[in-house]
């Protein structure tokens, strides 16, 4: 091999190794930082054909509509908890901090946090979109094909169904 080719070989090998290492590191970091998105019914009933449910302690995102009348505040701190619903099941979100400006009962929000028990999420972040009619697209999708009633009514109707 002449010296030029040798140099080129070294350069190419170094480049490939670097690129491979970089992509490997990236994928590893990616794997560590993926948060799956659930709606309340997916959280309880499981996702997809296999009905995969999240494990307690798992980091996740949840999106749903805040159930009317479910926001409970602690009297002397910023602790707050509220319920989320999409098509039926209800999960509870606990959070300490200031809720976003557009957080309102009956509106769609997304919370990022850790599952502490089967139906409770300890949120580190609560997001609400700056739009009156906003609904997280995942929630909108989950609600697709179902008659368009505000979740608050949906909640009440299911309540009534349970108390004949």
């Amino acid at each position: 091999m002449n010296p030029r080719r040798q140099k080129r070989l070294v350069a190419v090998t170094a480049f490939v190794l670097l690129l491979g290492g970089a992509i490997g590191a990236m994928l590893y970091a990616l794997q560590q930082n993926i948060d799956l998105f659930y709606t309340p019914s997916q959280l309880i009933e499981g996702i997809g054909d296999k009905k995969v449910k999240p494990e307690v302690g798992q980091r996740l995102r949840i999106g749903g509509m805040v159930v009317k009348g479910s926001v409970r505040r602690a009297p002397d701190s910023l602790k707050v908890s509220f319920d989320l619903v999409d098509t039926g099941p209800i999960v509870t979100v606990e959070y300490e901090g200031i809720l976003p400006d557009l957080f309102r009962e009956g509106q769609g929000i997304v919370a990022q946090g850790v599952l502490v028990d089967k139906t409770t999420i300890l949120a580190s972040e609560v997001l609400a979109k700056h739009d009156e009619e906003y609904m997280p697209p995942e929630v909108a999708e989950a609600l697709k094909g179902i008659k368009h009633v505000p979740p608050s009514q949906l909640y009440k109707e299911s309540d009534k169904g349970q108390q004949p």
């Binding site: 670097l18 993926i34 799956l36 997809g48 995102r61 910023l78 200031i98 809720l99």
Partner: protein, 659 residues
């Protein structure tokens, strides 16, 4: 009526863009002088028609013409006049018109300032830009027309501008950003025109450089303004969120930065040619990708506009045509291009290779983090989101070697560098770095081995290397004062931009490490201490604005007993859009920001408040500002204004003036 004229002008502009896409290109391949010379007037016509159309839409906003659907959905008669005018680009349709205006502006500028280029080459550039223009004008005219009327049943008043956009930052952030995005279309057109001709030499790079620098300058400003706006307006005290749309603007910036450096090699050494062309194509393609991501509704973010799948599909098709077409041309033409220059392993060329590799790896990281959730969802694997730590972690690893290289780069000669002569200056810089970094740390915080120290070391390394290098270069002219007049502007620009990067790194590291925040429940008279500052809530009272109502909080801040400042934070309720906005109170100093956001009312007399103390956060924007200032200075370099050919006798006089 005015709105109809705007529509008419836009239609004409579309026809002109068609002509611009066909005539000069035809002329360049057939050698038809007349067709080539038509390029300039067509470019000017395109600009004036678009400007008129834009003016017409602005007038409709100014005059509260709610017969125009777009005006009705983005403005309101209660809105102050200045926000009525900026509301022109507050929604999808109007911002696309602004996009067209900047595109037409760049085309006009190319026509105006590149008259000294060979006619055939200039014609090709204008033709390629015309092709791009056809795509965008058709998009606006047929798929997102801002002049649509709702006659005869028009609303009495409008739905108001999104309160988030009622801010000074919003007035200049989108125009700057678009100037940057669209500016890369010029670099792209230069690259494609050169591909058509098959001629790449250092003159080509010298022509393309100022345009790329200008676009990069605007994009840097736009991103910085966006970050500053988000910090001031969103009330969460952050300055970068790795939001998909931020990422969409960051990717062309990274590739654009790589392009600037690669162009330097092509100009000075005549190598990296095919690579430079690829980067020019990449920068513009990523700008288009950004437009697609933001406007198709595939992403959810603060920035995304109302979703319309057809628009997304059109933009995606356009993106594919542009990328596919240019890569095809590249594949056909590029194998005939050979670089003949040789360089050794330790040379500036190789270090700039390193620069490009790191910048492109960073682009890959951002691209992966932005598109992966989309792919994941489309494959039916469920919705996911990629957390901030992913980006932070990888950028952390990338910035360290990148900064080390950056401190070394400007000292290394082209072609070949001996190690021996560099040892002395490099060790001097290393000592200066240690003193600077530890000194700053001791002066502001306690000395610890943490991210902040790393950031300070890297920043001081890059900064002191840039300054020493400049001094050394100036001395080569005999004395520093002589050097100041003789050294070319692009060298000053480079040094300033590198210092800007250093400042940015220091700002990010210090803010990341030493920011403290707390969310508290306060009553009037309560006092909270944070990082040595005492925040005292004096009172909260009701507020009445032109198109909003709300509450305001007054706070007094003192530091260890000494009065520092008074802060005024607001929470506004915009009545028409029925939405709440936080107007944070910020007290800014170079060494730290005090930041207070008023939260919700918890009971009759107590309030939730967010308090932040953010050291060195200003340095982040200062760094960005220095970078774009550096680009501006580099743009002023005389050699970019040197005439290459005299097409007419009239240009000769200007030549003399330039010399």
């Amino acid at each position: 009526m005015i709105a109809e004229y705007g529509q008419l002008a836009l239609t004409f502009a579309f026809c002109v863009s068609l002509a611009l896409a066909i005539v000069p290109l035809y002329g360049s391949f057939k050698g038809n002088q007349t067709a080539l010379e038509l390029g300039n007037p067509l470019a000017y016509a395109l600009f004036f028609l678009t400007a008129f159309s834009f003016w017409a839409l602005s007038y409709a906003f100014w005059a509260n013409d709610f017969t125009v659907v777009y005006v009705a959905s983005n403005s309101n008669s209660l809105l102050p006049w200045y926000y009525r005018l900026t509301a022109v680009w507050g929604g999808h349709e109007g911002s696309m018109l602004l996009w067209l205006l900047t595109l037409a502006g760049w085309i006009g500028a190319v026509a105006l300032f590149s008259r000294s280029l060979p006619l055939q080459f200039q014609g090709r550039i204008l033709g390629v830009m015309g092709l791009i223009a056809v795509g965008f004008y058709a998009f606006v005219l047929f798929m997102s027309n801002p002049f649509m009327l709702s006659l005869p049943y028009y609303p009495v008043d409008g739905r108001d501008l999104n309160p988030l956009l009622q801010d000074f930052g919003m007035i200049i952030h989108p125009p700057m950003l678009y100037m940057g995005y669209v500016g890369f279309a010029v670099s792209f057109a230069f690259a494609i025109a050169a591909l058509m001709g098959g001629k790449f030499d250092s003159t080509w790079a010298r022509w393309a450089r100022p345009w790329t620098l200008a676009a990069w300058m605007f994009l840097t400003m736009g991103i910085m303004l966006g970050s500053w706006w988000a910090y001031a307006e969103l009330g969460w005290g952050g300055w970068w969120f790795w939001d998909p749309v931020e990422n969409a603007s960051f990717m062309p910036w990274l590739v654009g930065t790589a392009l600037i450096h690669s162009l330097a090699v092509t100009e000075k050494r005549g190598t990296f040619k095919s690579w430079t062309v690829l980067l020019a194509i990449g920068a513009f393609s990523l700008s288009l990708l950004g437009a697609f991501l933001v406007r198709s509704g595939v992403l959810v973010s603060v920035h995304s506009f109302a979703a319309d799948p057809d628009r997304g599909l059109y933009l995606l098709a356009f993106l594919l045509v542009v990328v596919g077409g240019s890569l095809l041309l590249y594949a056909i033409r590029m194998n005939s291009v050979r670089s003949q220059a040789r360089y050794e392993l330790f040379s500036r060329e190789v270090l700039l290779w390193g620069n490009n590799i790191f910048l492109l790896t960073a682009t890959l990281v951002v691209l992966l983090g932005t598109l992966f959730p989309l792919v994941h969802k489309e494959l039916g694997l469920g919705s996911i989101s990629i957390g901030e730590p992913f980006f932070n972690q990888l950028f952390y690893y990338l910035v360290i070697p990148f900064s080390l290289l950056l401190g070394l780069g400007p000292w290394v000669r082209w072609k070949q560098q001996q190690v021996q002569p560099l040892l002395k200056p490099m060790s001097l810089i290393a000592i200066a770095t240690l003193i600077l970094a530890l000194g700053t740390m001791a002066a502001t915080q306690s000395i610890q081995a943490n991210l902040a120290l790393l950031g300070l070391l890297l920043g001081a390394w890059v900064g002191s290397s840039a300054i020493f290098e400049l001094l050394q270069r100036l001395q080569q002219f005999g004395s520093i004062t002589q050097g100041l007049t003789k050294l070319n502007a692009s060298h000053f620009g480079m040094t300033l931009a590198h210092i800007g990067f250093a400042v940015l790194v220091v700002g990010v590291a210090m803010t990341k490490t030493y920011s403290v925040e707390t969310q508290v429940r306060m009553k009037a008279g309560d006092q909270v201490e944070l990082a040595g500052y005492q925040f005292k809530l004096v009172e909260v009272y009701d507020l009445k604005g032109p198109n909003y109502s709300g509450e305001a909080a007054e706070l007094d801040v003192s530091y260890q007993g000494d009065y520092v400042t008074h802060l005024h934070a607001e929470k506004r309720f915009y009545t028409v859009q029925r939405s709440v906005m936080t107007e944070a109170a910020v007290h800014a100093r170079l060494s730290r920001d005090l930041y207070v956001a008023l939260g919700e009312s918890l009971s009759e007399d107590s309030w939730a408040l967010s308090l932040y103390v953010k050291p060195f956060v200003r340095w982040i924007w200062l760094g960005g500002l220095l970078m774009s200032l550096g680009a501006l200075i580099a743009l002023c370099d005389k050699r970019y204004r040197r005439r290459t050919v005299d097409r007419k006798d009239t240009t000769e006089q200007k030549d003399k003036a330039d010399a």
